[in-house]
Amino acid sequence: MTNYVALSIVLFLVAISLIVAIYSRRWSRTTTEFYVAGRKISWVQNSLALTGDYLSAASFLGVAGAIAVVGIDRAWDGIGYFGGYIVLLVLLAVPLRKIGKFTAPEALTTRFTGNRSIRFSAMFSVILISTFYIIPQFIGAGALLQLLLGWPYVSSVLVIGVIVISYVAIGGMRATTYNQIIQGVILWMAMALILILTVTQFYGGSFSAILENAGMAVPPQLASILLAEPYPIWSDLTAGEAVAHVSEKLTGQPDGLTPGVFATGWMNTMALAVGLVFGTAGLPHVLIRYFTVEKPKDARTSTLGVLFLVGTFYMMATFVGLAAMYLLYPDLMGYFLAGEASIAQNMAVPLLGQMVGGDIMLGVAIGGAFCAILSTVAGLLITIGTSVTHDFYKEVINPDADDKRQVMVAKLSIVAAGVIAVIFAIGLADQNVSYLVTLAFGIAASVFFPVLFLSVWWAKYTSQGALATILTGIFLSSIFVIARLYGMDDLMGIPVLVNPALYSLPAALIAGTVVSLLTEDVGDVENFMSLAHGPELEE
């Protein structure tokens, strides 16, 4: 079952990304040209690194994959992932860079000096959000290996987990940033190539034709639930025949262009929209990148670069997903009804790649996805490692730890978090990876977004208020995520929505505000606000 052509292309692409990354790191140290160009390209580099970091399995496989099985309603994921950067840009990017600390928890204790309750609860949130974000990456990687090598899902996840964790713990700790830059470029181009080949080969260059076809199909995930036996042999049917067969049996059902299929009702739609758009500004691995840009102004220009890169990426992914729904209709129905939901949910992009460009494009698609997964997991694990060493180990256990010891502690925590994520990935195999990521966004939107927003913009915010925000956000969002994953419809009479943020974000903001009005410890507010908002002195 092993597909050697595709496998070699995957290995080639991943190797290229690593080699180019190594070379560019070296080049940046040993050339003079870099100095001249350095100032100009630093924000380009940073936006590419951010893009590589940000576009994960969820974006590369999940967004188009979800649209292919549910329809246009899942375009929300892409719009929300994109829109989140606007929230980050206008509210937090420059202040965070100016505060210039290592981690988001440390940025908070720059204002609430020495407050360990805030620091630890924030560190715990970093670990929780980042680990939860890694799980879908491993699910995507497991499904990819299943497709590429024909291995069982569990062993696929175990193998890829070991590879990725050792890559970060052993080699990737240095210069992961440079890998992310290259991987950002590769996965953007892979998506563009698949879209161009699809629209020229099957749709005569017309995007309207993609929509027309998707408008005829009952979304496969819905159809697979509603359709009564006996089923036709899907592999014998063409796309058109399969779509027609299902539409005939299931009249009056939504099609690929019907809104509201996934997030039913206004509460679900708004919950998803809120969780996504405020989630990015609360993701620890995104925030950590803002501490690395050269100048405060670069924080804004980098974000503009990201907006352009991820915006165009999601526009392409939307059309790839809609095209895949129709073109892969027999395949997707077949996988769902054969109980292989993990492939049906997440593999539309590679399968479409294979359809339009044979094994070579299958390899390009899987290679692009591996790049997305490697760069994102590396960013997440490094974020966890930094937070554990810097916010906990060096703060409490061993304040005199030298760099060497800190790096070792970071590596240990990276391995621990990676192993936990692998275990959960095995348990959550059949979920769409983008959906799981939207849940991580929901938690981030309820913890770091409100606490950073209030700290940076409200002089009367108090340390007790900040703690109330973090605890309320993390508690409410976590229990609603768990309830959702257990399939509960309501929790003590409150409906469980597709995303927790509609409840937990306002609750966290209100808790922080009310507690702050009742308490007085505003922290080192003058210093902190001058730092975050004051005009910069010339160096």
Binding site: I22, V90, G100, T292
Partner: protein, 238 residues
Amino acid sequence: MPAIAATKKAIDLAILMDAVVYVTTVPERTPLTILEQMGEQVEDSRYTGQMADGPEVAREYGLLNDVEVRELPMGAGPIVGSILKAAEEIQPDMIVLGNSGRGGWERLTLGSVAEGVMRHSPFPVTMTKGWDKDELGDLLAIAKGLIRPSMDFTREAKVGRIPVSELNLGRRLAVSFLALLTFLIPYFGLGILNTFYPEIAMTVVFGSFTIAILWIMALFPLGMLTGLGFHRIASAYD
């Protein structure tokens, strides 16, 4: 260690030539995260043995040998470029560098700064190769007493202390919110359209493009323009 070997060489040469020695260290500035930088530091110190306060060591050794040592304070930046730029300013007779003796993987990934300077420098370059611990004994003794504190990786901005009331937080926040609403109103508007007016959302405008699809596709360029507009306004505050 290579830096110490180079210091020794430079000062020995200065004794012969009756010259002044300029010393400098360049903190490298890259878009790397703190942990990555620490990782590189650890690798570096494996070759150099320890992290000493270089310029101080040179100054003390210079005092012992009656050689004037001046420190060139240098901002962070790309290492090779910074060294050459400093050289252009002081027009030295010679640049002395230590070769790290990195090999294999380290050399492949990190390259060699000494090599970079040699290749691009308009001035004569002397590069020390390897080192003999006994020969460097006196300098090493000085270096052991002058261990540099752990690197500070923070990038706190340099700002003056200003009372909160003078920061115009309210006005700034208003500008930010205005920019945010430019995007968020149509963003949440899509949700309202889809849930409350599905027929309108499904209305075909041209080809097979429905209002909902066009709305989705318009949100992306709208977001990019919002970002650009905000950047222009915010730049006025910098």
